[in-house]
Symmetry: C2
């Protein structure tokens, strides 16, 4: 593995000159540059990025800390991040926290030790500890998708607004008893979506039944459990709002197993769409976030910070969620309860 010294010797120049050629910095005479370039080609030299990074304090690497790449929303985000980073010559180190703050903190520490130039962080919880640790080190970061209690650059979807649209849509279909299958209480997207729900209900002059608002976490199992719980209520809701895609799938499974039809017996809407490429016939009415674009934009913001606009004030970029109406909510109901639901509710309790 040739080093810069070999190249220098081979070209009959000093290492410093080779460095200038590599980085296209400082003065290098045309003839010298050519000689160095020939030497580089002849030896098959490639600079050692560790050494470069150690000296120059830039690793051209970003850390991406998210909850679970297995969720198609995060997958798409990750792709957006990778594309934006790669275009700028940056690599991305990927870390899954599974919503565990301990893991998140551990990864953040590790990446700091690796001297990454910046972070895109999806905070596992509403705590600012990791964020402050990173900022103390002077490493730029963009908080993604979720809010934290301190001011910091953020890119996120409009959870409140998206939820509001979804619930308004349900209300327009005639639904009055709408249950919220919520995520983790410590996560802003969960609470913001509930806030959007409350606002829509309030605007419609409806009082919110607290029994219809549940918090668990963003998993299939939670969706399953919450769906079963709300269906057992009396009166049962005529529509369900799942605050993310995994909860929605879990809930739909529970409904299927209970013999409850969607949308005939109960309507269903959810936050986060599934990617086009994964579904033949999309079924669920959703508030779709522009996941790829969000990831891309967060990374570009981060890169801009790296490029040096420290002076700017803190940015909070909120991208709108798009209401996509599909079959799962297409069944209009009257003001009276759908009789099907009662039947099902009973059968479910047995």
């Amino acid at each position: 593995m040739p080093t810069i010294y070999y190249v220098a010797k081979h070209a009959g120049v000093a290492p410093a000159t080779v460095s200038r050629v590599i980085n296209d910095s400082g003065y290098v005479a045309g003839e010298t540059r050519e000689r160095v370039e020939r030497a580089i080609a002849a030896l098959g030299y490639a600079p050692n990025r560790l050494a470069q990074g150690l000296r120059s304090k830039q690793t051209q690497t970003l850390g991406l800390i998210l909850t679970d790449i297995t969720n198609p929303f995060w997958t798409t985000v990750a792709r957006g991040v990778e594309d934006a980073a790669s275009k700028a010559g940056f690599s991305v180190v990927l870390c899954n926290t599974d919503e565990s703050q301990a893991k998140q903190d551990q990864y953040a520490r590790l990446l700091l030790q690796k001297q990454v130039d910046g972070f895109v962080l999806v905070p596992a919880c509403n705590d600012a500890e990791t964020v402050t640790r990173i900022r103390e080190r002077g490493v730029p970061l963009v908080v993604f998708d979720r809010r934290v209690p301190i001011p910091v650059d953020t890119v996120r979807g409009d959870s409140e607004g998206g939820a509001h649209s979804l619930v308004r849509h349900l209300l327009a279909q005639g639904h009055r008893r709408i249950a919220v299958l919520g995520g983790a209480r410590e996560v802003s997207t969960a609470t913001d979506r509930v806030a959007g729900y409350r606002r829509a209900m309030g605007e419609a002059g409806l009082t919110v039944d607290p029994a219809l608002i549940l918090y668990r976490d963003f998993t299939l199992a939670a969706g399953d459990e919450m769906a079963s719980l709300v269906l057992a209520l009396d009166p049962a809701p005529t529509a369900l709002f799942a605050v993310n895609n995994f909860i929605a799938i879990g809930a739909l499974r529970a409904l299927r197993d209970a013999g409850v039809r969607v949308p005939e017996d109960v309507a269903m809407v959810a936050f986060d769409d599934l990617p086009q490429a994964m579904v033949v016939e999309p079924f669920l009415t959703v508030a779709a976030q522009p996941a790829y674009q969000m990831g891309h934009q967060a990374t570009e913001l981060l890169l801009a910070r790296l490029a040096g606009d420290k002076s700017d004030k803190i940015l909070e970029i909120i991208l709108p969620a798009q209401l996509v109406v599909r079959r799962s909510s297409s069944h209009k109901v009257g003001p009276s309860l759908n009789p099907f639901v009662k039947d099902v509710e009973l059968s479910h309790q047995n």
Copy 2:
């Protein structure tokens, strides 16, 4: 940001001693160790991994080069890789090639410059260039999912066997004209799956109509196009075999748009399942590869190589694909052609 020298001074020892404490190597007296550990804690010291890597020639980082993280198969694989790596204290740098060999080669070069300790590589094509480049540098790698024309550690699913199972299943259902919607001809998984198809057909004493075997690439658009093409044949196939999930979805869309019902009018099977968490009611009969396990195992093999069993011979680990029969192929057909297909074929040509 404290360095090892600060810590050394603070503890009243030499940097070498601090290094010994950090790495738990060499001789350190108990009392000295405690003093150093207190200094580390007091200063909040964390070693610079670049410097460590530069000197020790180990970065505790793996490169994962795959085609597209957006495909749920690769997502799951990536998660398996990340989990295995993380458990061993390694980080993972993720790269998407989009099946472009140029990108693949570029990423491989970059990661080599970053001195990654090892590679998990999904080759974009049947070319060994990238693989040899990596091996020349003496960096361990595991080729994933696809074969390359030189002997190298490999972890892959049983494409031939999985395809064979799928086609046998179709044959058992009474299908005789079975079309293959293939991937890229340069990719072994595509050709192996066709080989499995041929074997199953041959064992059934059937001759293969070459018009029923198409090659394109692993995309929705290709699936759409190929499905339309084979449906226009006369006689049309009664069953389609999509060699991956994206092709399957594309084909299903084409069928839907053409008014062809699955499985009533035409049966459909595919390679690669969608993750449990993304589908309420799985519909497609598939050969499911243990994606997570494959990624995990490939990484463990790679780590074992790193740990030093260079002596071992080259390993080729082939994991079985599991036949999962679902509705999309459940409709038995007789030896005569399904009349529906003809209708559709005509309407499609208009």
